[in-house]
């Protein structure tokens, strides 16, 4: 295993959309990500879970510099990703790559599989032409595809194979960090296991650091070392994979865990679990106090007034709630 000590550090990341001046009005500001901080040790997998609109994908895209960062710092090893510009940013992209959710739309249908995986090598001018060819063949084998499949087009692959291609493309520049945005959500259940096992093997062999975005708590529990739960642009709870599931503290985390149907163990009493009502408030008009207060079954009057800070509530366990 390579010994790479670079780790991802995200400090007070904010991504706001809109807010520009229209002809007569000021456009509303969407607080997609609003002050997110975490760090990932090298070789570890950090998971972000949350429902749609929680800002988990925007966090991933901001770290990848694929959406403009409004404020905050993102550091990978010794590189401050969030402050790079133009050519420096392009060159630094070698170190961090992304695997997208939809293996159908994230591969160019007019390119052959070999070209798709080779493109980052060409763009980054890595190695000689012959070395690049050998590297592509090598990558195909690493992700469990046959080298002769390089000549095929994306539509000739199944969904799972396409996600393998996406992984091979991300691996081609030998990055330190791979951001995985819901990499298995679009796949059939039997294929998910194949891809998750492949990702775990690649991490072990290559010492990769993963930032893993998902809404599927079962998958996150399986693959991540540390997990942050996001709600409306902020982290509400963060802990290692065992603590978060055995000792959840934030009412939102509890509700999220209770909402997942269980296959094993005795059927829980459906009437006694925490049932959330309604939908999250809009990220345009944010409530004054705790953002979860309007749906929280335990909310007290002060929750609607005071903003809870994300604070230490146990060894390596952080929570943002006034009541814990």
């Amino acid at each position: 295993m390579n010994t790479r000590n670079s780790a991802l550090v995200v400090e007070d990341l904010k991504v706001h959309f809109g807010g520009g001046r229209g002809l007569f009005t000021t456009k509303p500001t969407v607080h997609a990500v609003d002050g997110v901080s975490f760090s990932v040790p090298a070789g570890a997998t950090f998971g972000i879970v949350g429902e749609s609109g929680s800002g988990k994908t925007t966090t991933a895209l901001a770290i990848m510099r694929l959406v403009p960062v409004t404020a905050g710092r993102v550091t990978l090893g010794n590189t401050v990703i969030s402050e790079l510009d133009k050519e420096d940013l392009r060159a630094a992209r070698r170190q961090f790559q992304i695997v997208f959710q939809d293996p159908y739309s994230s591969l160019d249908p007019r390119k052959r599989a070999g070209e798709i995986v080779r493109e980052p090598l060409d763009l980054m001018q890595i190695g000689t032409r012959a070395e690049r060819d050998a590297k592509v063949a090598d990558l195909f084998e690493q992700v469990g595809l046959r080298p002769e499949q390089r000549a095929l087009f994306p539509h000739q692959f199944s969904g799972g194979q396409r996600q393998r291609l996406g992984l091979a493309r991300a691996l081609s520049t030998e990055p330190d960090l791979i951001v995985c945005d819901e990499p298995v959500s679009a796949l059939d259940v039997a294929i998910q296991a194949q891809i998750l096992n492949l990702m775990a093997r690649l991490q072990r062999d290559l010492g990769l650091t993963y930032l893993f975005i998902s809404h599927d708590l079962g998958v996150v529990q399986h693959i991540c070392d540390e997990i942050a739960v996001m709600y409306l642009g902020q982290i509400v709870e963060q802990a290692d994979r065992v603590t978060l599931f055995t000792n959840p503290q934030h009412p939102y985390t509890k509700a999220l865990l209770a909402a997942v149907p269980m296959v094993h163990g005795n059927k829980r009493d459906r009437r006694n679990r925490i049932r959330l009502k309604g939908d999250p408030p809009s990220p345009v008009n944010l409530p004054k106090g705790c953002r979860f207060a309007s749906r929280c079954p335990m909310a007290e009057p002060r929750c609607h007034q005071e903003v809870p800070e994300l604070r230490e509530i146990g060894a390596g366990h952080k929570g943002a709630c006034l009541l814990i």
Partner: protein
């Protein structure tokens, strides 16, 4: 079990394709009693949605065709009914909830009008009475401020609310069978839990039979009474949810249960790799003589490649189609 309300008996559906004949349903038999929830589970392409479409008489034809078999609702044969007769059945006797609430609602009508439409058609209700029923249905699916929301267009509602509207439409004429095709796939976990609770509440009030189509064993465990596991157009295992989940007989069912990382209340410290089902679902035009799962099966014996195993009882009413798992 009481007499089945809806029975699907030995149904075969064929699709003519350029690659040859694809048998998308291969002698499928299912039954659901009133007040019961039957789960159908399987990967994409296994025929679970096609089962729903054949019950609704919505198999796209051509290229598809119900080649043989019978589908009976309270003894009345549905296969071979004319389009006009089927229109009477759809919506009134059998309601259906589709997977994608956004694309299955009409964007240019208010949700109230869309619910009222089926009441007007099937019960000859006056527009006013139909709209009153629509508001009542919206209240039943727990949409707040139902009389205001009835005047909203689909784009003004969240995904969870749209799916509630779909349920309201499907239940507006109090059908005896409700088919829910992946009703929560597009929704978040907390909203999914709300919809599951709602389906269960509505069912205990009305006694509607529900056919729940899903790929999620967790959803089956949570909601269904009985389950049918489908693979490549065939039912490979069928039984009560408790017996199938705790004691699966077919290797495909076992694989489906173990290959998914389920949320554990006490996660193990050391993570073993997930058990995989190797390979992919075969093309339906390339099925051989034998068991369709044999190429991916670890317990394969010579017989598996030669003939398709019949669906037979292993333990009591628990049926399995496997040469190896047999009694």
């Amino acid at each position: 079990m009481s007499a089945p309300l809806l029975s699907v008996d030995d149904v075969v559906v064929d699709f003519k394709t350029r690659a040859g004949n694809a048998r998308v349903l291969d002698h499928v038999s299912l039954e659901v009693a009133s007040g019961e929830i039957l789960g159908i589970v399987g990967e994409s392409g296994c025929g679970k949605s096609m089962t729903a479409l054949s019950i609704m008489g919505l198999v796209p034809s051509p290229p598809g065709k119900v080649t043989s078999g019978s589908i009976r609702l309270e003894g009345r044969e549905l296969v071979g009914l004319s389009e006009a007769e089927l229109c009477e059945v759809r919506g009134r006797d059998i309601g259906m909830i589709f997977q994608e609430p956004m694309s299955s609602l009409n964007p240019v009508f208010t949700v109230g009008e869309q619910i009222a439409e089926s009441v007007r058609l099937h019960e000859n209700a006056s527009p006013k009475a139909a709209m009153a029923r629509a508001v009542e249905m919206l209240r039943a699916v727990e949409i707040p401020e139902a009389d205001l929301r009835a005047k909203a267009y689909p784009h003004q509602l969240s995904g969870g609310m749209r799916q509630r509207v779909m349920i309201a439409i499907a239940l507006a004429c109090r059908p005896r069978v409700l088919i829910a095709d992946e009703p929560t796939t597009a929704l978040d976990a907390t909203v999914q839990a709300q919809i599951f609770d709602l389906l269960q509440d509505l069912q205990s009030e009305t006694g509607t039979a529900i056919i729940l189509i899903t790929h999620d064993m967790g959803a089956i465990a949570e909601l269904a009474d009985r389950v049918a596991v489908m693979y490549a157009g065939r039912v490979v295992e069928k039984g009560t949810v408790d017996t199938v989940l705790s004691d699966p007989q077919h290797p495909y069912t076992k694989g489906l249960i173990t290959c998914v990382p389920h949320l554990e209340p006490e996660p193990p410290l050391v993570r073993a790799p997930l058990p995989e089902i190797p390979g992919v679902v075969p093309a339906l035009t390339e099925l051989g003589m034998g068991c369709a799962f044999a190429p991916r099966c670890g317990n394969r014996i010579a017989q598996c490649g030669e003939a398709k195993p019949p669906l037979e009882a292993t333990v009591g009413p628990h049926l399995t189609a496997c040469w190896v798992a047999g009694p």
